[in-house]
């Protein structure tokens, strides 16, 4: 029997697989495909202080082994999420991770405080949003802003906080350390790489917002590299994501140093993907001579024998 359990701050996971934020809505649509209780956890779509409509359409574009999105954090606002969406999710036997977003420090605090009194098991702090007060620079690319917003969110709520790092930085370790110093309980990495596609026929960016976030297998090597770097430098557990489509991808993330993984845009290709990966994981672990998920975590760091 392969042990797939993982214990993380606030998250007792029966398996290490969860859908990534923004790629699973609030679970409703996927509940028609399988029982959500199978999931290790669910990372729900970003919540902001008030309802947001998001960007103009088109909001997505296809790329080689990936896609761009610029949804613009569309969501019904934190109150509606707590009132309607969390209520819907409550019966399922799986922990919920709420994704916290905002444009100002106050936004983040307000959302975190409200979710702090909700049924969610942990918060995922999405710091890839532009900080309006600092002229649009992202919280996620400035270690001081990242430190401050993490600290404020930790103060605003008693829930464990996973800071979701942006890959659009020169030095991911500095960002991870800033989060750690501010009291983060874990890291979630990575968010999307900023990209663009231009349509040769219309001569314009395909996405109305011009730029969008790149996700999918295309970014997996960048995510693996960053997790591998951060695992060596900080002591926080990492939830890894970026292009996961197979159990081998999951094992690659765990070996790099992730303690659990999230599956994002692959849900669009195959709505059953999370369930399928969870079902296949024990056999995949056995095939690689592992007897538990815990045993795999960080394995690329202490292996010294060569084959």
């Amino acid at each position: 029997m392969i042990d797939t359990k993982v214990d993380l701050p606030g998250l007792q996971l029966k398996n290490p697989v969860m859908p990534a934020s923004g790629c699973f809505g609030f679970g409703r649509e996927f509940a028609q495909f399988y029982d959500l209780s199978h999931l290790g956890a669910i990372m729900i779509k970003a919540a902001t202080a008030t309802k947001r409509f998001g960007n103009a359409t088109p909001r997505v574009a296809e790329t080689a082994s990936g896609m761009l999105n610029a949804i613009g954090l569309q969501n019904p606002g934190v109150d509606a999420i707590i009132g309607e969406e969390l209520a819907f999710l409550e019966p399922y036997q799986t922990p919920i991770v709420a994704n916290v977003a905002g444009s100002t420090m106050e936004d983040y605090q307000e959302v975190a405080a409200k979710l702090g009194n909700s049924t969610v098991s942990a918060l995922e702090l999405n710091i890839s949003c532009p900080n309006v007060k600092e002229g649009g620079v992202q919280f996620g690319v400035d270690p001081e802003l990242a430190y401050t917003v993490t600290k404020l969110v930790k103060e605003a709520s008693a829930k464990p906080v996973y800071v979701k790092l942006s890959p659009n930085v020169a030095d991911i370790v500095t960002m991870a350390k800033a989060a750690e110093e501010a009291g983060a309980d874990g890291l979630s990495m990575i968010n999307t790489l900023t990209g663009m596609r231009i349509d040769p026929s219309t001569r314009k960016p395909i996405i109305a917002n011009q730029t969008g976030g790149l996700s999918g297998p295309a970014i997996k090597p960048v995510a693996i590299r960053m997790i591998h770097q951060v695992y060596q430098a900080v002591d926080l557990p990492i939830i890894g994501m970026g292009g996961i489509e197979t159990t081998d991808d999951i094992i690659e993330y765990l070996l790099a140093g992730a303690s659990a993984v999230a599956v994002g845009s692959a849900n669009f290709k195959n709505p059953y993907i999370c369930k399928e990966l969870i079902d296949q994981l024990p056999d995949a672990l056995s095939a690689h001579q592992f007897s538990s998920v815990k045993e795999v975590i960080g394995g690329a760091h202490y292996q010294t024998t060569s084959t």
């Binding site: 409703r28 409509f53 088109p58 574009a61 949804i71 395909i206 849900n267 195959n270 709505p271």
Partner: protein, 254 residues
């Protein structure tokens, strides 16, 4: 909605760069209304699925018919699939024309180009409910025209082509004034066409089917939203992939 590896039982060119694809499986038995679509994974080479309307359903054979035009890499790759091949299909998706709630006597169908396909299954449904159907079908040129004879079997048909190579020269909107007696209209086509139709038929009850680039196709990712015309609307938006693609013209901002 389900994911199914459907078998290709027919695949042929029916007009310039336009193909008919017939897929067999259990999916057809779940189709609820005309106007619904399927979401096709053309091959592993593509990261996103392609939405294509259901143009016909044959419950006996257990097939859906799709009509698609080559617009880019995905639809181009689709043309190379052969009879007997399996295709990864998600569906039936979306909310179609509410045929059970209609009190229509005479329907006006207005389709433009690759907006024509869902109207065929709609026409069949309306006809079988005893309603009268008149269709205005617009294409770029005579070589792009398809399915007119099939529509003719269900009612009057008016064809318009941009270059006048078949039917009326011009747009579907140039033909609408020639038709009368209808009490409800149903339209699908490019956004500019839908805008023109909506404008011209203001006051007439209608339904339009609209397009947008999709991520999930199941209502989870918010890629395909359209703004509500009513600024007081509680949500303020509709998802084309799940609330639509069919809407009342007055419901959404085109």
């Amino acid at each position: 909605m389900q994911r199914e590896w459907m078998t290709i039982v027919a695949h042929q060119s029916i007009a310039s760069q336009t193909y008919l694809l017939e897929l067999q499986g259990s999916l057809p038995q779940f189709v609820e209304t005309p106007g619904q679509f399927v979401h096709i994974q053309v091959s592993d080479d593509f990261f996103l699925r392609r939405p294509v309307s259901i143009a016909d359903v044959d419950s006996d054979k257990g097939t859906v018919t799709l009509l698609y035009k080559v617009m880019g890499k995905g639809t181009d790759a689709l043309t190379r699939k052969k009879i007997g091949d399996k295709l990864d299909v998600l569906g039936p998706s979306g909310t179609g024309f509410p045929i059970d709630k209609l009190t229509t006597n005479k329907a006006l169908l207005i389709g433009g180009g690759i907006g024509v396909p869902p109207l065929y299954y709609l026409a069949k449904n309306l006809k079988s409910k005893g309603m009268e159907v008149t269709s205005i079908l617009g294409f770029r040129s005579s070589e792009d025209v398809f399915f007119t004879e099939k529509f003719q079997a269900l009612g009057d048909v008016h064809v318009a082509t941009n270059d006048g190579s078949m039917g009326t020269r011009g747009f579907v909107t140039d033909v609408i004034p020639q038709v009368d007696g209808y009490d409800t209209y149903f339209s699908c086509g490019p956004t500019v066409m839908l805008k023109g139709v909506k404008e011209q038929l203001k006051g007439v009850p209608g339904y339009i089917s609209i397009e947008e680039r999709m991520g999930c196709g199941v209502g989870a990712c918010f890629a395909c939203v359209v703004e509500c015309a009513d600024e007081e609307d509680a949500k303020g938006y509709r998802k084309i992939c799940s609330d639509g693609p069919v809407f009342r013209p007055e419901e959404v901002v085109l």
